[in-house]
């Protein structure tokens, strides 16, 4: 039960026991299969980034063919003082955090409901995972029109008795609207993960808890949640990775507006690139975002990796 594995059990297949020379040859034969994927990933994701860094040091506006001179760090200076860039960064954090956390809460709730036998359980689960499978572009458009439309939308109709019939959701509460569509899309994903966690919970523990006379809430907080912890962390990690890069929902739903009220970083940089055509500045933004992401990710990933990987792996 103790998590600090002082004497890690060696995996039988680990090449630790083979003689040194054999081990080296063996090591290479085992390393080779890794290379194609590694080279491919470096080629397609890292190499272009080097060019992004190069562009970020130039003054280059696509619409002025005479531009393209070395600009030093001018672009960075401009970007870091651009209030809208900082606003977009803030929006990214707000959208990602609220979407992931709310989705997780909804996901846990739905999973708890599904974690018992009842009539039509399969059907209900099938229904519930559907939002995750629908194309996000379609999800965003549908929410924007058939749900949020101030005149003909379903939401306005449903909320009319509560005096919220005439709210123009997308204009007045753009971030809330975007997060709503995202939560709808990601909750099933969280639900699936949590459900897997619930179903791997060993029966003995649950029964032991019941024998101890714990009530349902105590069971949930003292037994179930700790057991789910790694599943929840995985969901938060994967969810964050995808949600932080959200582009399609914002593109289809609000175009980052009104104004730049609902722009997140991917969308704002896209606009600077493909509507502003200022390649130098948008490249600089890209580089800044990547640096920021690396800082955040290093902290978050290390933390989470420590939890996920068995201790011996973490040590190697």
């Amino acid at each position: 039960m103790s998590a600090t594995a002082t004497a890690p059990a060696e995996r039988p297949a680990a090449p630790a026991r083979t003689p040194r020379a054999r081990r080296r040859a063996h090591g290479w034969s085992l390393r080779a299969p890794l290379l194609p994927a590694l080279i491919f990933t470096i080629l397609v994701t890292q190499l272009p980034f080097l060019f992004t860094i190069f562009y970020s040091l130039r003054s280059w506006n696509l619409l002025r063919p005479d531009s393209g001179t070395f600009a030093g760090l001018d672009n960075y200076a401009y970007v870091l003082t651009d209030a809208q860039f900082l606003g977009a960064a803030l929006n990214t954090v707000v959208i990602t955090a609220s979407c992931v956390l709310i989705s997780m809460a909804v996901g846990i709730g739905l999973a708890m409901l599904l974690d018992r036998k009842f009539l039509g359980r399969g059907v209900v689960r099938t229904l519930l995972i559907t939002p995750f499978l629908i194309i996000p572009v379609a999800t965003a458009l549908l929410w924007k029109t058939t749900m949020f439309d101030p005149v003909f939308g379903l939401l306005g109709f449903v909320l009319t008795p509560f005096g919220l019939g005439d709210v123009n959701w997308v204009s007045q509460y753009p971030v809330v609207s975007v997060v709503t569509a995202l939560v709808w899309q990601w909750s099933p994903f969280m639900m699936l993960l949590v459900l897997a966690g619930l179903q791997s919970q060993s029966r003995d523990v649950v029964e032991a808890g019941q024998v101890d006379g714990a009530n349902r809430w105590q069971m949930f907080t003292n037994v179930t949640l700790p057991h789910l912890r790694r599943y929840i962390e995985l969901g938060v990690l994967l969810g964050s990775i995808y949600v932080v890069n959200t582009f399609d929902t914002i593109y289809m739903m609000t175009q980052g507006g009104p104004g730049t009220a609902s722009s997140n970083l991917p969308f704002y940089i896209y606009q600077r690139t493909f509507l502003g055509f200022d390649i130098g500045q948008s490249a600089a933004m890209g580089v800044i975002v990547v640096i920021g992401t690396i800082v955040v990710a290093t902290l978050a990933l290390r933390l989470i990796f420590r939890t996920f990987m068995s201790d011996q792996e973490a040590k190697s």
């Binding site: 619409l63 009220a261 606009q271 055509f277």
Partner: protein, 456 residues
């Protein structure tokens, strides 16, 4: 990396990267499922306005005439189309053989060498009467006397209003309305209970969206973007007065959700009878007066663009077709361009869909056609006058260092206009105040203005 001049050199190393990528993919040849057959495939990028949709549905007519040429259309809403087309042209992407642009892009892009000179094609095409294009339109698409794009339709702006609603309310539209009068009328007619807004005005961000009506209003209110020394004037009293007037009008008596509605959305609302007035492009008539798509066909009156300090309040715009320099099928592309902008095309549309739906405002012969005069009596004159009276060289009351009526013909305007339009749109949505919007916009505009102070 050596600092070489010109695009190919600059991108050479990237080419190697691309080649590596295509090697990895193992298949650089096949373009996708839709790759054409034996003949030439022309890829055409156009804006999804109703007149363009008509052209697409008439494509079989073209393909019958030129059996070897296969057409593939990329149709997108205005903002998305601009982003895609501009990126492709400016980087030499080469995805398109024909693109829809406007009098904003044509001269600048011609100057950059990005567009095929169409004059030789025009001269070599018998019966393609370029002299028949309205003179202001033709001139706005010419660079050094040669046309670099040909107009599909031309437009100014005017005010459409519902005669039936005016009669019911006992109101009358003045012959040459001022904006103050229009605001009063909008207040009278605004009736959200019955689903009728007083007026529909664009609120969607995008320099070609909200800024078009806004800038035409700005000109007649005596405002300008820059003084002659490129000092931004977005916080000047005139600019502020215009912005406040526009935002208040649309917020108080405009359509619901205005911050998300552009030309297409307003067109739908007006055609569906949801607004009493509609100030926008004269090209609206092809939809508004078409009984198949409009509930208000024949019920509209048309007044010249409202004015304030000046006696002209309209704009000048044209959606035109050009051939990117990178196209490998320029001759075939010209055949398509000439087909879509020819007199015969106008007649084809009239025959197929009726004279209401012909692309208006590009050819004199259309205005002079008796059948067109018959159906267009209500709007042909205000449209033609609006186009004729626009003066891109001197758009407002006071001198400016740029040209263009509802846009500024400088490359940066695409970006600047987008950013300022976002601010205005946010003010329309009530997210920020007009003052906040203008403060922020002034900063953007000044940084662009500064670059002109330094270099020119």
């Amino acid at each position: 990396m050596p600092r070489t001049k010109g695009r190919p050199g600059r991108f050479a190393a990237l080419g190697a990267l691309g080649a590596a990528v295509s090697l990895v993919s193992g298949c650089a040849g096949a373009g996708g499922v839709a790759a054409g057959g034996d003949g030439t495939t022309l890829v055409v990028a156009i804006v999804s306005n109703p007149q363009m949709e008509d052209a697409i549905s008439l494509r079989s007519d073209f393909e019958e005439e030129y059996p070897g040429i296969d057409l593939r259309f990329v149709t997108l809403p205005e903002n998305e189309a601009r982003a895609k087309i501009t990126t492709s042209i400016a980087t030499g992407g080469g995805e398109f053989d024909a693109v829809m642009i406007s009098n904003y892009e044509t001269r600048m892009w011609a100057e950059n060498g990005w567009l095929e000179n169409l004059q030789p094609h025009i001269d070599a095409t018998e019966g393609y009467d370029a002299g028949d294009f309205l003179q202001p339109i033709r001139e706005s698409l010419s660079y050094r006397g040669d046309m670099y794009s040909v107009p599909f339709y031309g437009e100014s702006s005017f005010l459409a209003y519902r005669k039936d609603l005016f009669d019911q309310a006992g109101l009358e539209m003045p012959a040459d309305p001022t904006w103050a009068e229009v605001a009063d009328l909008a207040a009278e007619l605004h009736d959200p209970e019955s689903g009728t807004a007083g007026i529909c005005l664009r609120g969607l961000p995008g320099w070609g969206e909200v800024l078009a009506p806004f800038n035409s209003m700005l000109n007649t209110f005596g405002g300008r973007w820059y003084d002659q020394q490129w000092n931004a004037q977005l916080t000047s009293p005139e600019f502020r007065r215009t912005a406040e007037f526009y935002v208040n009008l649309v917020r108080e008596h405009g359509q619901p959700g205005a911050a998300n509605s552009g030309f297409g959305d307003c067109l739908t609302r007006y055609s569906q009878g949801n607004t009493a007035m509609f100030y926008d492009a004269t090209a609206m008539v092809s939809t508004v007066e078409d009984p198949d798509s409009s509930k208000v066909a024949g019920k509209s009156g048309y007044a010249p663009a409202p004015v304030s300090e000046t006696d002209y309040g309209g704009w000048l715009y044209t959606w035109s077709l050009a051939i990117p320099e990178t196209s490998e099928h320029k001759d075939e592309a010209w055949r398509f361009l000439s087909w879509m902008t020819d007199k015969e095309y106008t007649e084809k549309v009239a025959e197929e869909y009726g004279w209401e739906r012909v692309p208006p405002g590009n050819r004199i012969s259309t205005f002079e056609n008796p059948q067109y005069q018959d159906v267009a009596s209500a709007y042909a004159e205000p449209m033609r006058e609006g186009i004729a009276d626009a003066d891109p060289k001197d758009p407002g009351m006071r001198p400016v260092p740029y040209t263009g009526v509802q846009f500024l013909a400088i490359p940066e305007f695409q970006d600047l206009g987008t950013r300022v339009s976002q601010q205005l749109s946010a003010a329309v949505a009530g997210q920020i105040s007009v003052d906040e919007a203008l403060e922020q916009s002034q900063q953007y505009a000044q940084s662009v203005g500064d670059s002109y102070k330094e270099t020119r």
